[in-house]
Amino acid sequence: MRTLLYLTLGLSAGCAAAGVRQATPAPAPAAASAAASQAAAESMSVDRAQYPSTYRRHPNPPVLIRNATIMTATGQEIRNGSILFKDGRIVAVGEKVDAPADAAVVDGAGKYVTPGLIDDHSHLGVYAAPGTEAESDGNEATNPVTAEVWAEHSFWPQDPQIPLAIAGGITTIQALPGSANLIGGRSAILKLVPARTVQEMKFPGARYGLKMACGENPKRVYGRRGGPATRMGNMAGYRSAFTQAETYRRRWDTWRKDHKGDPPERNLRLETLAEVLRGNMYVQNHCYRADEMAQMIDLAHEFGFKIRSSYKIADLLAKEGTSVSVWADWWGFKEEAMDGIQQNAALNQHAGGRPLIHSDSPSGIQRLNQEAAKAMYAGVRAGIPITRDQALRWITVNPAWTLGLDSIVGTLEPGKMADVVVWSGDPFSIYSKAVQVYNDGWLVYDRADAAHQPRTDFELGRAPAPGSDR
């Protein structure tokens, strides 16, 4: 049951990433309202810091990886190339790069280098291993609209699935609430680094996402619990929630301007939805059927936010500037997932859209490169000329764009954050493994060095020692 509850996107479908795209990160709520805070007689909770990121870059020496095939996700594949990064930033990428004297030099002969992989749809930490009821923290399935809950308040940094995802080359994830609810709550965009608290993982400057879900899941969960029981009930649920949020937003915006009378009562549910209406949050929309995605585009038009995410309506999505977040080949486990095809990502690419491959799975996230490879070859076999660079973008810069982080991560370019993966061979080969993973310049994983293979506390006393008979 749980599996079905949090499985999300079909091949025929995709996440509609909604929200007005802005070039600069949204101001933190505290900063936005600093003036109001001074003007008010006493400060209010809304004006104080809201669960800020405490992420700090891990200090490291500069690193030069040379003699490798560098896949930049900007159209280049440099044979015998080098990449230098220092203080968490990429300094140079090219055929010849000089190393500073203090640089750690990595011989990349026979190896490939790509940007760190980004999974924009994960439930790591909120549905943590070993998957008992005790760790089932991903669906606040007590009301169809729970915009007030935040995934980061469920996220368990000791989830033993995290080191496995790191070993698969993942450097950034969006951890999402499940898809039981029409509106499931806020996502957490996280640097995938070993950490004690979720705050230490929160991607600095990243805006929040809002999880929404179409179709069967909310119907199944709430059909006999007061509704919605139908797809029209689903639509009515989104509309009434956003209608209330419109009023809430207006009241607060007005009060912030004139400070007349008492401030409006704070409502956490509507506060989150108002942030979507203001364009400060993106929507990650679980949706399978093409016709339902078209309904969601209309919903966004009604409330003035813009959708950015199926092969059937690839033209519509491309026109809307919507990205589409899909699986390579999961299909058929429920009625709305029966129409899935392996060429979904390729067809969206062909239509001028912005596809990306997500895992939505603690196993799939360990091999996101293979998922992209499967989708690439499915397209090529169907006669759609997908390039290696395009397929690499499906798991790097395209998800970065969807999360509003493409100016910071997702490609290997000077100035970008040094999220870098060294692969044992072609990352689109099933035989290749990540051998080194750098997150913000920090070597968070090294296949050859147990000192750089993070383990969680959960594993203490459980994992067999290498070579043991047990």
């Binding site: 079905l4 069967e216 199944r220 058929g332 486990f333 429920k334 009625e335 029966m338 047990r470």
Partner: protein
């Protein structure tokens, strides 16, 4: 469809053939439904130059054909509700030859699957089916092909909530089945203590208890695998471990049991094939693969005695001239 194919002689020529029963053969011919070693002039030729030719893949356990859409109850046929010891439940008549999943799986190279029941403690009887055919009769290769046991976390829910209770319940059921067999007359006269399962389910367990049919035990935890091995030893069963996620941790025990079987101490060598599929390295072992024919190219290159090369013989059999059983890949 089968009838049409049966009438055709097909020659797959020029490919690198992996017979599995022997080493790979370059530039070989596989003749399907032919007689002799020559390619008949009316044969349909398939040029496999530059390609690999292997046996069709076999999925050793799953609900293909029994469940079309997991979330739609109307398409689920794998589980009999309300019958903890569902030994008499055979899934065969629940197979849907029109399931959309069948063709999609076939195009990926899978030709045969074991359709297994799920749920309950004893889930029921599995059927081996070909992914080809318009009717159940055309699809079924072997039914029943094994008795499925849920020796796992979900199985114990049907035995009072304890793994020890699961083992105890099974022992009682197995003993009652043997008792029922010995005392059918007493049973019909109601001169027997109440049995722990209905007579039809006990009857259905007898081929398993006489090692004529395998017990397919779904077990993942180390201790569950050990329980399955222990029960198989006690009742001299042919055991197939399925799932076996922690099989690697007890690979030696599994292999020892298999070796014991191979030496003939506990009946015929047969079991643990599923464990091999899931955990290929430790358990080892060969699958018997019989092809529908070895072509003249292979006969020439391997200097096979001409009389041995004929339809229904594997390369190995063609070499030795022994056996010659015709058929499909059988596990």
């Amino acid at each position: 469809m089968i009838a049409v194919l049966l009438a055709q002689t097909i020659a797959i020529t020029g490919g690198t053939v992996y017979p599995v029963s022997g080493p790979k053969i370059a530039n070989a011919t596989v003749l399907i439904h032919g007689t002799g070693v020559a390619i008949p002039s009316d044969a349909t030729r398939i040029d496999a130059a530059g390609k690999w030719v292997t046996p069709g893949l076999i999925d050793g356990g799953g609900q293909l054909g029994l469940v079309e859409i997991g979330a739609v109850a109307g398409t689920r046929e794998a589980s009999l509700q309300g019958d903890t010891i569902a030994a008499a439940f055979n899934v065969t008549e629940g197979i849907n030859p029109a399931s959309a999943v069948i063709a999609v799986t076939r195009i990926e190279g899978v030709t045969t699957v074991l359709a297994t029941p799920t749920g309950n403690l004893v889930s029921g009887q599995a059927a081996l089916i070909d992914l080809d055919g318009a009717t159940i009769e055309q699809m079924v290769v072997k039914s029943p092909a094994g008795m499925v046991l849920d020796d796992s976390e979900s199985g114990k829910d049907y035995a009072g909530g304890s793994r020890a209770g699961l083992a105890d319940r099974l022992r009682r059921v197995f003993r009652d089945a043997l008792e029922y067999e010995r005392r059918k007359v007493d049973f019909s006269r109601a001169q027997i203590q109440p049995l722990s399962a209905p007579a039809r389910d006990l009857e259905a367990l007898l081929p398993v208890l006489h090692a004529q049919e395998p017990l397919i035990a779904y077990a993942n935890r180390r201790s569950d695998i050990a329980t399955a091995l222990r029960l198989a030893r006690e009742f001299k069963l042919k055991l197939v471990l399925a799932g076996a996620q922690e099989g690697w941790e007890v690979a030696r025990n599994i292999a020892e049991r298999r070796a014991a079987r191979a030496r003939g101490r506990e009946g015929r060598a047969h079991g643990d094939r599923h464990a091999q599929l899931a955990q290929p390295a430790p358990a080892g072992g060969k699958r018997r693969v019989v092809w529908d024919g070895v072509g003249p190219g292979a006969a020439r290159r391997h200097a096979l005695p001409r009389g041995n090369v004929r339809r229904g013989r594997s390369l190995r059999l063609a070499r030795t001239g022994q056996g010659g059983e015709r058929g499909r890949v059988v596990g």
